[in-house]
Symmetry: C2
Subunit: 245 residues, 2 copies
DNA sequence: CCAAAAGTGTTCAACTTACACCCATGT
DNA sequence: ACATGGGTGTAAGTTGAACACTTTTGG
């Protein structure tokens, strides 16, 4: 394994997180100051990403990015899109940033994009040299590079995927309440559900298993905890079929 | 625009076609003969693809592949996956093929994959130097390179996509019958539908417009023709919502 | 005792499924 | 006349949508 970075191939990670209230995404601040005046020439945000090593699995490169940020392994990771417009890094701002950070702004870079799912509350973010944090997806505007489009793609892919596979549990703690699960679906799709109808719906999902354990220390009727059983899911899943358009 | 091919980036096209009976895919024969004995050292099939030019849009590269094969422009094209395992072209067979066809077998190639949709009956295939043709998807086994996995990915993506957008019409002639439409969905999902229930379902789709025109020259009751109206579709489409797992 | 979220059922409308026969055409 | 696929309706069961009150806890 060589350690040379590939000049033309990168990965970008759209790291989604749920905090029981909103859908969030990890962004990195991108600030460039004029060395003389101290004025901020660039001040915006981007997704997290990296060039790959020339003979590295792209998924491993994405895991590197994730591990650098969170210290975690085994994070849910899904390739969803490859951004490749030859002009995608050609805006004056992006060109300036690339030259000031030691990249060659002439090089074409295609970026294979992954989304990840995390529970914000259980994920410490290691802020290294640059400012990194969770930001509500609904507030995000004008990211650097073409990252706004990548984020839009990612959200759409997440919506499609979560309809067909039980991946939402990746954004919840192991034990969760039905209200938390409902809120998760609500923020992912940006809709509201009726509590009773939602509960009737999930009651049919046999892989959602109620525990004899309730919330403690909450100043209202404590909610029952549930767990997701992948084992039951794999045994009972049935292929979807429903062409709805 | 330079005309140098990028050594590390290619596109592969999974070209699906419907012939009113089966779902087909265009494959290219890959034959390598021993120059002395004439024995066939390699004899299998692959998808169609090509390296990109260094500053070419990947979608344009895919369009080149499609235009070379069919002479057509404006073919439905959808990026669905990027194949990237550093070892994806490392099997002895693939290495042999690469060296015998003037490629450097050491180079890592990542391939951005697109699927296209066509009506077989309206698509002439230009067979140039190599043998190219339509093959039933259900019979395909053991393609060269990692193309079997790419095809499986493509079929899955097609199934997901066709559930959420009316892209099936790309595989039908402009005027089609309801039985043809039904057969299309049946072969894409590999299931059978009840004729009456299918018709009730599509009757709700306002963008399926019946014509005052029927089949001619068929030895049975002639079927009414329908067209797909994109205009009506765009006006009436509603966002899907149904997390079914 | 108050605030806060948990939990629970019924009714009506819409949709899904299963199922069988006559029709228009070419040969 | 016959073979072929086109075209149609109904009843039963299931699912989806709308809607309000009681319960349990902490403060």
């Amino acid at each position: 394994m060589t350690t040379r970075l590939h000049p033309n191939i990168s990965v970008d990670c759209v790291i989604f997180g749920f905090d029981f209230e909103k859908l969030n995404v990890i962004l990195v601040e991108r600030v460039l100051k004029d060395p003389v005046t101290g004025e901020e020439i660039i001040s915006d945000f981007t997704l997290t990403g990296n060039h790959i090593y020339v003979d590295e699995h792209l998924e491993d490169a994405a895991k590197r990015v994730l591990n650098d940020l969170t210290g975690l392994d085994h994070i849910y990771l899904e390739q969803f899109y490859t951004s490749e417009d030859p002009a995608r890094l050609k805006s004056p701002k992006d060109q300036l940033w690339l030259s000031k950070t030691g990249k060659n702004p002439e090089e074409r870079v295609i970026s294979v994009c992954y989304f990840s799912l995390l529970n914000c509350k259980e994920t410490p973010i290691r802020k290294k040299d640059r400012k990194v944090g969770w930001y509500p997806v609904s507030n995000v505007t004008n990211l650097g590079f073409d990252h706004s489009q990548i984020l839009a793609h990612a959200l759409h892919s997440l919506q499609i995927k979560i309809q067909n596979e039980p991946i939402g549990y990746e954004m919840l703690p192991q034990k969760f309440t039905l209200s938390q699960l409902q809120k998760l679906y609500e923020v992912v799709f940006n809709v509201e559900f009726d509590k009773r109808n939602f509960r009737k719906k999930v009651a049919k999902m046999k892989y959602l298993i109620p525990l004899d354990e309730k919330q403690k220390g909450v100043s209202h009727k404590p909610a029952r905890y549930y767990i997701f059983s992948r084992e039951v899911y794999e045994k009972t899943k049935t292929d979807m079929l429903n062409f709805s358009v």
